[in-house]
């Protein structure tokens, strides 16, 4: 009987092509689905609005967004927010919705623009002035040249109006004069009411 020559047997190798195909498909999917444009959007839950206009993606890079978020629990002690975070983490959102407006203390909320906190009205006015000066109207109204820039106020649905008012007051400052406002809102997801 002829002996099998071990040297002539090629090492077994499996075909990697289908795996590489799948991995490439996944890679392309994740690359396209990842949204890198939302750096200026803080993690918060915006208020719901059925009839909000969709934000056009071509205007995303030029917009100015003032986020209003609750201060982190590592920085301040807020029992109401702690309780709400605990309920959220344990998936008991129904209980949150029964009484969502637990922390309405303005000192517990932050105004954040491009990851920077603005704690005093003066700082906020200076920051908004920089932005407003980029585009001014030609016609003077009273003593000011109003800005053409639009500011989006993106507040958590539980934030008190006092914080939004602070942004509005800064916008109304004669140095800034930004009068076009947008409110960030969450549109209903397909299939939801």
């Amino acid at each position: 009987m002829a002996k099998l020559n071990v040297d002539q047997v090629e090492p077994s190798s499996f075909d990697m092509t289908p795996m590489i195909d799948c991995v490439f498909q996944l890679l392309i999917f994740f690359m396209l689905a990842t949204d890198m444009s939302q750096k200026e959007l803080e993690a918060l839950i915006p208020p719901k609005a059925k009839f909000a206009e969709e934000v056009k993606s071509d205007k995303v890079s030029t917009r100015l967004v003032a986020n209003i978020v609750h201060e982190g629990l590592d920085k301040i002690s807020c029992e109401a927010w702690q309780e709400m975070t605990m309920l959220d983490n344990s998936g008991r959102r129904d209980e949150i919705l029964k009484n969502p407006f637990r922390c309405l203390k303005p000192e517990h909320w932050l105004i954040r623009i491009r990851k920077v906190n603005f704690k005093t009205p003066k700082d906020l006015v200076l920051r908004l002035k920089e932005e407003a000066d980029l585009e001014r109207e030609k016609d003077r109204i009273g003593n000011v040249y109003p800005s053409k820039r639009v500011i989006m106020i993106r507040a958590d649905f539980r934030a008190p109006f006092a914080m939004v008012e602070a942004v509005m007051r800064a916008c109304g400052d004669p140095q800034v004069a930004m009068y076009k406002l947008e409110f960030g809102a969450m549109m209903p997801q397909p299939g939801q009411d």
Partner: protein, 156 residues
């Protein structure tokens, strides 16, 4: 003379480094992914010619002034048009629409709703109010911020 052996097999490129890199990228994107959430916007304005500084409390009979307050103890919202309270947003908006139509009929084409929420009102009801305005084709909604005397009156 011995002939040199020619290996007739196709050269196989080593795929390992590429697969390593691809896996690294894949893991990065899988970990960093944050799917797009459909977010929208609702438009509003501040008074262009006045700014927000030191506006006295509105003369309520002259303007379509909507006020919203929040009772923190009872966790209840109160909606007012001028001095009349409404039990819900729908009834309020119907009345607002009627008031605006009257204003327009009397020649005030630029009549706007002046919205003045109290400082402790959460954002959700305010946005719901703007949303209801949009549903009812009320496009001009301006925010009215109170000056110190207005704020004191609001506290009372």
């Amino acid at each position: 003379m011995a002939k040199a052996k020619i290996d007739d097999k196709m050269p196989q490129p080593d795929m390992t480094p590429m697969i390593d890199c691809i896996f690294q990228l894949l893991i990065f994107f899988m970990c960093s992914i944050k799917f797009k959430v459909i977010e929208g916007k609702l438009l509003s304005w501040l008074p262009k010619d006045k700014g927000s500084q030191n506006i006295p409390p509105p003369k309520l009979t002259e303007e379509v002034a909507v006020r919203v307050t929040f009772d923190e103890k009872e966790k209840k919202l109160h909606y007012y048009l001028i001095n009349r309270e409404f039990p819900n947003v729908d009834d309020l908006i119907k009345e607002v629409k009627g008031a605006l139509e009257l204003k327009k009929a009397s020649g005030e084409k630029d009549a706007a709703v002046k919205l003045g929420p109290a400082r402790n009102v959460p954002m959700q009801p305010i946005i719901a109010l703007l949303d209801a305005c949009k549903l009812n084709n009320i496009d001009k909604v301006e925010f009215q911020l109170l000056d110190e005397s207005g704020l004191k009156a609001q506290k009372k």
